[in-house]
């Protein structure tokens, strides 16, 4: 199943991905990046549909979509959590 991976080092915080997401699966994270912005992160309780909308719209090529194995657990963006 598809999963959003945010490359927060490139993110400018424009918010277009959040606006464009077809299922409102992205939200603003609390963390501040080196560019002093709040990057997006996938919501814990909304499943990505793999529409690629966020990745397409991102002006900074800061979003990748990866395929992960199905699991019963709600999805968490591990990349954001470990930064």
């Amino acid at each position: 199943m598809p999963k959003v991976r945010v490359l927060t080092e490139y993110c400018k915080g424009c918010g277009l991905c959040i606006t464009v997401c077809s299922v409102e699966a992205l939200e603003v994270a609390e963390e501040l990046t080196a560019l002093a912005i709040h990057p997006p992160r996938p919501k814990a309780d909304v499943r990505c549909t793999g529409c690629l909308g966020c990745a397409l719209i991102c002006p900074d090529a800061a979003i990748e979509i990866v395929e992960v194995e199905e699991s019963c657990e709600p999805q968490v963006n591990r990349a954001a959590a470990t930064r």
Binding site: K12, T19, L52, G53, C58, P59, A61
Partner: protein
């Protein structure tokens, strides 16, 4: 984990100087994706204009050159004539292409020079502080049209695709936007068609991308998309103006 969408290899791992929500970012990304997909990194030569995209060569991992303001089509003409086996991408903003470089783009198009131009039209001069561009809309306020552009004094906005569609040796001409995932896909496809036209030796190709400039439009990125979709496209209709494959 296998990526179904990943950051293109042809984009250097560098944070760009572009503002959040800038249309240049998307155009660079799409060009880089196509360079990856089409496997042409080792054959591509890209030209950076004068304008916000002056640092294009910092971001695209291909052979690059600057060009003097507006002269990009002339430099591209020389480059392509000298290295016809290379894919030459000329990248220009609205000042570079439609103001100071009007003679060069018209004559390159008329001659059917076999390079591809990506024309990023955001209706304002960003780099220099938000002045009027030839494509600034009627009524649009800028640093040099503080009361809004008026056709009576500044002339109407210049429509480049319409102008260039007069020329017989233009092989591919399209105007697109980047205001939705679907529009972004369409822009990528249009740029791909332009590059294919070049690789098949069919002559001049140009893709005009209506792009947001949230900073000098004084709008949020999302509001900028609305401005393009609801206002800008009335002056600059989207579409394919010339497609050699379609006749």
């Amino acid at each position: 984990m296998s990526p179904t969408y990943q950051r293109p290899q042809a984009l250097k791992p560098v944070v760009t100087h572009y503002c959040g929500g800038c249309g240049h970012g998307v155009a660079h990304k799409l060009l880089a994706e196509l360079i990856d997909e089409m496997g042409i990194r080792e054959r591509t030569i890209a030209l950076a204009p004068v304008g916000c995209a002056v640092l294009l060569y910092c971001y695209l991992d291909v052979d690059c050159s600057e060009a003097a303001h507006g002269r990009t089509p002339a430099v591209a003409t020389g480059l392509k004539r000298a290295r016809p086996d290379c894919v030459v991408i000329s990248y220009q903003g609205d000042g570079d292409l439609a103001a100071i470089g009007t003679a060069e783009i018209i004559h390159a198009a008329n001659r059917g020079e076999n390079f591809t131009t990506i024309f990023v039209n955001n209706a304002v001069y960003g780099m220099t502080g938000g002045q009027m561009a030839p494509t600034t809309l009627e009524g649009q306020r800028t640093a040099t049209t503080p009361s809004g552009r008026r056709s009576a004094t500044e002339g109407p906005p210049l429509r480049v695709c319409e102008l260039l569609s007069n020329f017989a040796r233009v092989s591919y001409l399209a105007r697109t936007t980047v205001t939705s995932p679907r529009a972004v896909r369409a822009t990528r496809q249009a740029i791909r068609r332009g590059i294919e036209a070049q690789m098949e030796g069919r002559g001049f190709s140009l893709i005009e991308v209506l792009a947001p400039c949230p900073t000098y439009w004084r709008l949020s990125p999302a509001e900028s998309f609305t401005f393009i979709d609801e206002t800008m496209t009335k002056t600059f209709p989207l579409g394919v103006f010339r497609d050699y494959a379609g006749g």
